[in-house]
């Protein structure tokens, strides 16, 4: 009896330890979420949805935002898709990429291109009911420029001073910048509430901000979902059309498709093209295609053999079958490209550059002429765990191995890969780019300004090209500027350090009941006009 009692006590103690461990997670046990301190009527006096519409639309997203304030650290699509529903700026990049008024009714630009004056929409309120004050504009735009851990500070770095009154905001630049208005339409150049932000810590504000946009945060369950509710003080009559927008985290694309089919989610942004057929064949679903500025590139490290030799890089053009890659990955929603700037940027893209046809024999000849008698060996480093990148790498290998190259695919965990190409310790990798605004400065700066990203991690420091880039940024004559960017693209093409592979559209799968879905070429969408039929 005594021995059994001893055993039972021991077992109880061990079980108590296990339970204690469960409890020691900390005092907070509210699901790790943060929630908005709601305004007088979070149930929504402002956002009146017609009765024929559902109250909630669920968007299945593959990544959870870290913060929802657009000047926080590590802002990416997961963050901007939420923050774009909460915040507004002076201007907005429209669905067609054009700059449209948002909190500014109109604006003027001084002749020297240094001073921008915006007339403001009157009587705008934040979602907590407070009026917008002039100091909020000053604080917000300086925050975009100065918040030390923001990864989008570069968008606002042209700003010298900001002055505001109840009716106007005046921005003075450090130097003329032809892209500034387009940059103002970027997701982080938005209005926040200074007095509200000052009532909490930085970390709290990043997770629980307020703006003047159509929605505000209702609740956030970490690792699971985030729900926005209509801003009762939103100034546009009848907007937003749907009371709640829920972002549900569904990391796996196959699961996302099944949730869409079973009605658990209503919209699946950027569903892989491989799954598009399943959507198109289902009468309850629809696939919306939007033009994008997304391009995938093969970037070659010019600081190491074999790609330190321009002849080898030039031969690579003939060794790649871009059309096959585009077709295999994106099907009818992709196309091979030659220029680093997307055709969706309109006249900024140098459409005169030729997509070179796959010609393994020409590539071999070029390599032979350059003195390479044996296959040129190189390692293509790509991230592991991504079927997409593995598929692209396999296609590239199958193409170049027939054209005088010998490619070895190296699968690396994403942080290790990032470290490898950032330190120019690789041969080649596949990277992608989506522009942030309607102007080529983003991708061109990334490709030719060595200080930004070692010229897309190729290490080709062409100072002449960089000088041309700086001149193009400051040039206020539109026609001249277009010409300069066309020239830059030509030179990058000739350098062959960045080889654009293909472009693709954004494919949004949705329930057939959803209407009004629009996405701009910079992967930003406004949900206030979306509806779901009951």
């Amino acid at each position: 009896m005594k021995a059994t009692a001893q055993k039972l006590i021991a077992l109880s103690l061990a079980a108590a330890m296990a339970l204690g461990l469960t409890a020691c997670g900390g005092g907070s046990s509210n699901g790790g979420g943060s929630s908005a301190d709601s305004s007088p009527s979070a149930s929504g006096e402002g956002g009146t949805a017609p009765t024929s519409y559902a109250d909630e639309i669920v968007i299945g997203v593959t990544a959870e935002p870290k913060n929802i304030e657009p000047n926080g650290p590590g802002v990416g699509p997961a963050e901007t898709h939420v923050s774009s529903q909460i915040f507004e700026g002076l201007v907005l990049t429209g669905d067609d990429g054009s700059i449209q008024p948002q909190l500014a009714t109109d604006w003027s630009i001084s002749e020297d291109g240094m001073v921008y004056t915006f007339n403001l929409v009157p009587d705008v309120k934040f979602s907590n009911g407070e009026d917008v004050e002039p100091e909020d504009w000053v604080w917000s735009l300086y925050r975009a420029r100065d918040y030390e851990v923001s990864n989008y500070r570069f968008i606002a770095e042209a700003i010298d001073t900001v002055e505001a009154t109840d009716t106007q905001v005046t921005i003075t630049l450090k130097a003329p910048n032809a892209a500034f208005l387009a940059m103002l339409g970027c997701f982080n150049m938005v209005l926040g509430d200074k007095s509200y932000a000052e009532t909490m810590t930085d970390e709290e504000y990043l997770k629980n901000p307020i703006g003047t946009g159509p929605y505000m945060l209702e609740n956030w369950t970490n690792g699971s979902s985030l729900t926005l509710v209509a801003n009762p003080y939103y100034r546009v009559e009848g907007m937003p059309k749907t009371q709640r927008i829920k972002f549900a985290l569904v990391a796996d694309d196959n699961t996302r498709l099944m949730q869409l089919q079973s009605g658990q989610i209503d919209v699946a942004p950027t569903l892989p093209f491989a799954l598009a057929a399943a959507v198109e064949s289902n009468p309850d679903l629809a696939l919306d295609i939007f033009p994008s500025t997304q391009i995938y590139y093969l970037t070659l490290n010019t600081t190491k053999a074999p790609f330190d030799d321009p002849a080898v890089r030039q031969a690579m053009y003939y060794a790649l079958n871009k059309a096959e890659t585009a077709q295999a990955i994106a099907g009818e929603y992709g196309a091979p490209v030659a220029s680093i700037v997307s055709a969706t940027q309109g006249e900024w893209c140098n459409s005169g550059l030729e997509v070179i046809e796959y010609s393994p024999d020409t590539a071999k000849q070029m390599l032979a002429q350059a003195g390479y008698t044996e296959p040129v060996e190189f390692t293509l480093s790509i991230r592991t765990g991504s079927t997409f990148y593995e598929q692209v790498a396999t296609l590239i290998k199958s193409q170049v191995d027939q054209a005088g190259f010998l490619c070895t695919i190296e699968l690396l965990e994403s942080a290790t890969l990032n470290d490898k190409y950032s330190s120019l310790n690789h041969n080649a990798t596949v990277l992608q780019w989506v522009d942030d605004y309607q102007d080529p400065t983003g991708v061109v700066g990334w490709s030719v300004d060595y200080d930004q990203a070692q010229c897309f991690y190729t290490g080709l420091n062409d100072e002449e090209l960089d000088a041309l880039n700086i001149a193009a940024v400051n040039e206020m004559d539109h026609a001249k500027r277009v010409e300069m960017y066309q020239e830059i693209q030509q030179q990058v093409y000739d350098n062959a350090n960045i080889i654009p592979l293909y472009r693709n559209d954004f494919a949004f799968a949705r329930s057939a009941k959803i209407d009004g879905l629009k996405v701009n070429p910079f992967y930003i969408y406004q949900t206030m006009g979306w509806t779901k039929a009951n």
Binding site: G25, G33, E148, E203, A415
Partner: protein, 299 residues
């Protein structure tokens, strides 16, 4: 336990720092300026000497103040508190399912050795061991969520009842491998034990079959089953990332993998430490259970 945990703290602290990848750069993304990266590195306390960072880690353990996640900018304790119960519930549900299925079937197969029933059970367990869990998960979702609409196709609910429903398919998926292993182990043990003299002796004494089964056969079979079960529980606790990703449930596995990929040292350190403590506790419970099952073992 204490020395083991001390070694774990050293290992987890150093290994995560040895692998390439700068936390600030990963958090901020590629477009961040060097100034922003430097500012965040300092803010995260990563400019301090390693020994100071280690002592801070130890102090956090003793004060139960686990600090802030680098990536989520929220207390690690809060993150663990929201994720750990999900993984624990999933592990317990899948373990219960495994035991419910494997023990009776294992006994049945053992006492009907080489007969049709035994062969069917063995084949089924072999199939279960061979199937990758992500594939089984998708298959279950197609059948039970899409076709029959009995359960949700992954995701997480706000209510307790809804969360229970969300865990059923993942628990079935997770239990498959454990069930198959336990089943085969139980079956083999039963085959061996029923051949023992003491079982024949018990029967010859006229002890009813049910008592022979529970007191003499299954009790002895449970010794190795408990060992195997404890190992499987430890493995499922740490290896739930695939299940959690496929079914979109907010558990520790996904948190741990995201933290490792994002070099979120603060989260990685405490998640690994928590797993280590759990494994030790499971082993302790297993040792205590031995003393119940085997009279020769004393505490």
């Amino acid at each position: 336990m204490i020395p083991v945990l001390f070694v774990v703290t050293i290992l987890v602290f150093s290994i995560i720092r040895f692998i390439p990848g700068e936390p600030a750069r990963l958090i901020l993304g590629e477009k961040a300026t060097p100034e922003a990266i430097a500012a965040l590195t300092e803010k995260l306390g990563l400019t301090e000497p390693l020994i100071s960072q280690y002592f801070l880690f130890l102090r956090q353990i003793f004060t139960l103040d686990f600090g802030n996640s680098f990536t989520y900018q929220m207390p690690v304790a809060k993150l663990l508190a929201s994720r750990f119960p999900v993984t624990l519930a999933l592990t317990l549900m899948s373990t219960a399912l495994s035991l419910l299925i494997s023990l009776p079937l294992g006994y049945f197969a053992g006492v009907h050795k080489d007969k049709l029933g035994d062969q069917a059970v063995r084949t089924a367990s072999l199939v279960a061991i061979s199937m990758p869990s992500f594939w089984v998960g998708l298959l279950l979702m197609i059948v039970f969520a899409l076709k029959l609409r009995w359960f949700p196709a992954g995701g997480w609910a706000d209510t307790l009842g809804g969360q229970f429903r969300c865990l059923i398919l993942p628990a079935i998926t997770q239990s498959l491998m454990t069930t198959a292993l336990l089943l085969r182990n139980t079956r083999n043990c039963v085959v061996d034990i029923t051949r023992m003299d003491y079982v024949d002796f018990a029967r010859s004494k006229g002890i009813p079959d049910s008592e022979v089964r529970t007191r003499h056969v299954m009790r002895n079979a449970m010794v190795s089953t408990v060992t195997l079960l404890s190992m499987r529980m430890a493995a499922t606790l740490g290896g739930s990332v695939i299940i959690e990703t496929v079914f979109s449930i907010p558990g520790m596995g996904k948190l741990a993998s995201d933290a490792i990929f994002g070099r979120d040292y603060a989260v990685v350190q405490f998640v690994v430490l928590m797993f280590a403590v759990l494994v030790l506790v499971i082993n302790l419970i297993t040792d205590i259970l031995y003393s119940f099952l085997d009279p020769r073992v004393s505490l």
